[in-house]
Amino acid sequence: MKHASYRYQFSARKVRSEFFRLLPISLFVVAFGAAFGLAAVQKGLEPLQTLLMSTTVFAGASQFAAVDMWGSEVSLIPLMAVVFAINSRHLLMGASLYPMLREMPPGRRYSLLLLLTDANWAVSAQEYQGGKRNLEVILGGGLAIWLAWIFGTWLGVYFGGLLKDPQSLGLDMVLGCFLLAMALGGEKSPRILVAWAVAAASSLAAWKWLPPNIHVVVGALAGGAVGFFWLGKKSEDRQPPAGDKETSE
């Protein structure tokens, strides 16, 4: 290994502040979790099984899809294929954090990935674009979201009937709005804008014409290809983390 020096300094204080920073979005995760808990028990899962799934899988969209395929029996290959396709974006998300993750020991690196999810990744990736290293949000923010997901699932399992129409409150759009806000808060060079246009077009084309659930990966790789062939300004400009400051709201 060339990168034997594990230089990433984890700050416990920052982990705590990132936990609280993602608490607002976690409230919405509770609502999603409740919707999932309700869907799962309606499909015949036991409450404890549903809670177990949320605890160990912790990937909302794929859990909805899996539960959707539930019945008195479940065929394995389609289930695995769908879960893999929906979660394959994690492959790219993890890869994009690798420049930071390689600076910590493998045990810690892979433990962190247990808490990788869209929202905390989006914060970390966006700050990395801005030259800040923030893996603390993966841990602190991830814990907030994970606990909210479990708590929400619990609510949905036992009190799901109370959540009649989450759409009327716009709850279904939380994640979309959050991810869009993260994207727009990042770098907006001509190169990135072209990458986005290519990503959007490829994602839409894949969504329309290719098998379901692979559009995210297709779009992301297409956008990445723009970066591969069109180099931005030197990445060495990026400052190491010294004196990182928070930009929480």
Binding site: E46, Q49, M53, T56, F58, S62, Q63, A66, G71, S72, E73, S75, L76, L79, M80, V83, F84, N87, H90, L91, G94, A95, S96, Y98, P99, L101, L114, Q167, G170, L171, D172, M173, V174, G176, C177, F178, L179, L180, A181, A183, R191, W196, A199, A200, S203, L204, W207, V216, V217, G219, A220, A222, G223, A225, V226, G227, L231, G232, K234, E249
Partner: protein, 107 residues
Amino acid sequence: MIIETTAAGTLALIALITAVTLVTRFGGVFLMSFVTISPRIESFINAMASSVLIAIIAPMAFSGDVGSVAALIVTALIMLITRKPLPAIAAGMAAAGLVRYLGVTSL
């Protein structure tokens, strides 16, 4: 292959879904540990990172109802003006709720 959703079968299925998800969580990082990060690879990663977000959102904008489109547009506007995520997200959701409450079904 088929698993019956008995108590044990369900546990096996949950374990399986967990395992597949773990492969996706670990896989990208694991594969990257064999790649030398050249400026070109880094540029690929950086462009890919925000493209993931766009690739998730684009079909949402095209498949959703007027409420979802309104949510995304309002979020984008507020975000570009204020550069603060929370107000942007809150306004976006409020827009979706309002549009749906008003029963607008086409632009």
